[in-house]
Symmetry: C2
Subunit: 300 residues, 2 copies
């Protein structure tokens, strides 16, 4: 759809978020299925209020190349599962040791550390089960391509790799190259994979995929810079974690390396680059364009 | 190949184990690749001495329906990655809290808990990356089928589900139904998935797959009963963990529920059933037949 006003964007975003949340509720094992505690723990984290950024990206990218929301819903939900898996494991005491996320108790504070660990594990496996759901409606080679992307983006060459370097950098002085590595892998990989997965499932051309890869990498970086900035500037209640917690843990962040103003400038640059990358796309890419702005204008 | 003597079986087993170990060494990220500690931790666990039961099952099942070892190697290695992922997470202090496995320090004792957690996560993702490796040589629909099997067998409907019920049963009196559930999910699911994956990639018929599913479930159960028995009777050094540790933790086991003799009888029954299930297969299924016996004759 063409989006020209903020209201239209809000309407679009809310509609897609609801679509995703309904689908998640349907795809996640019911809380009454054995083993109940595991499934309750999974649902507690995945169905917690959230922006559903990755699923919305899957959908918006599919639509940008002529696909339909409904067709890509399983993979949209899979991305949210991978995201939730990473949050649950990140919050564990052996990792960041966070008691709260977005104002709610973290998974292990409610269900215990063993169940939280296993809920994360199960969610990563579930993501791949969901991607296979497409097998009924879409060519197998597209599904295989998406599998490859998501597996790579989740593992040691993607999110997990970024997480490790992030941990190893805590309390150390790091250079711009290491910071780039962390952001590109820890956040960027899954965001880019979301954009590309939606487009691949919808049958995008090689040229379109290249443009969308660039788009994904740019908004991924902008997103992480904004996260760093919000950690310093944001409203504690909105972000749901103590402000400045990254600073306290001496995490590698953009503001720490470049200062507030330069970080803000860079996030805007990335958004400009992202929108430029998809300039050849027609009005069906409007949600992707608006989403790029939304990423740096959000307050949580 | 036809196997008629114990020496031929030993030769076959060692040849396949070496093939798998060489392939694993090749497929795992090098220890010098960034992030090094993560990759060292992954290699420490996956390349530790082991029976390679699941990869050998993938290969033997493929051969039983006319396939070749080399063709199924990526998925054979993927199964070892899923297995290693589960062992690393199981050994963590928040789970079984084991310091040793097969006489070596567990992953977290060497690399720390955070890296061990992330190494496990990365291995599950890597398993799916490896399965996709087949895309060059095999029809996509077979790969998608294998993905589905492995994802389901690893997650809340398989291994992780079994693990949760196992934890919840500790120190409680449990019935035969719960014990069956734990064994079927915690060990059986991945063993059955290994057998079926090899066969699917090699182009097995529906009839063959049904027989092999039965075979896999039976040897999976026999394997777990033997593990329970070895925990009581085995040689501590060979098993690499303190004898009776399951007893100490009051884990749900066959011997606890049925006694030693009845457990042994049941494991033999399962092996007979497994061999019966594949009685229509020709001599190319000899390794699967011998492997079934090996499972209950092993001393580790």
């Amino acid at each position: 759809m063409a989006i020209t006003t903020p209201d239209q964007w809000q309407e679009y975003l809310i509609a897609k978020q609801r679509l995703v949340e309904k689908a998640l509720d349907r795809y996640l094992p019911p809380a009454t299925a054995q083993p109940e505690r595991l499934h309750q723990s999974i649902r507690y984290s995945v169905l917690a209020p959230g922006k559903r950024l990755r699923p919305v990206l899957v959908i918006a990218a599919a639509e940008a190349v002529g696909g339909k929301s409904e067709t890509v819903l399983p993979t949209a939900c899979a991305m949210e599962c991978v995201h939730a898996f990473s949050l649950i494991h990140d919050d564990l005491p052996i990792m960041d040791n966070d008691d709260y996320r977005r104002g709610r108790l973290t998974n292990h504070k409610v269900y215990g550390e063993a169940i939280a660990l296993l809920a994360g594990d199960a969610l990563l496996a579930l993501a791949f089960e969901l991607i296979v759901e497409h097998a009924e409606n879409l060519p197998s080679n597209r599904i295989v391509q998406v599998m490859q992307l998501v597996a790579h983006a989740s593992g040691s060459g993607g999110m997990v790799g970024g997480q490790v370097v992030d941990i190893e950098s805590e309390g150390r002085e790091i250079g711009s190259e290491t910071l780039q590595y962390i952001h590109h892998h820890k956040t960027g990989a899954l965001i880019t994979a979301s954009v590309l997965s939606g487009a691949i499932l919808a049958g995008a051309s090689q040229e379109q995929l290249e443009a969308l890869k660039f788009y994904g990498e740019s908004i991924g970086l902008a997103f992480q810079i904004m996260d760093d900035l919000l950690d310093i500037l944001g409203d504690a209640k909105k972000l749901g974690k103590p402000i400045g917690s990254d600073q306290k843990q001496k995490k590698a962040t953009y503001p720490r390396l470049y200062g507030l103003e330069e970080s803000r400038r860079r996030s805007h640059d990335e958004i400009d680059k992202a929108i430029q990358a998809i300039s050849e796309f027609d009005h069906r890419a409007d949600p992707l364009r608006t989403l790029a702005h939304y990423i740096i204008e959000r307050d949580q």
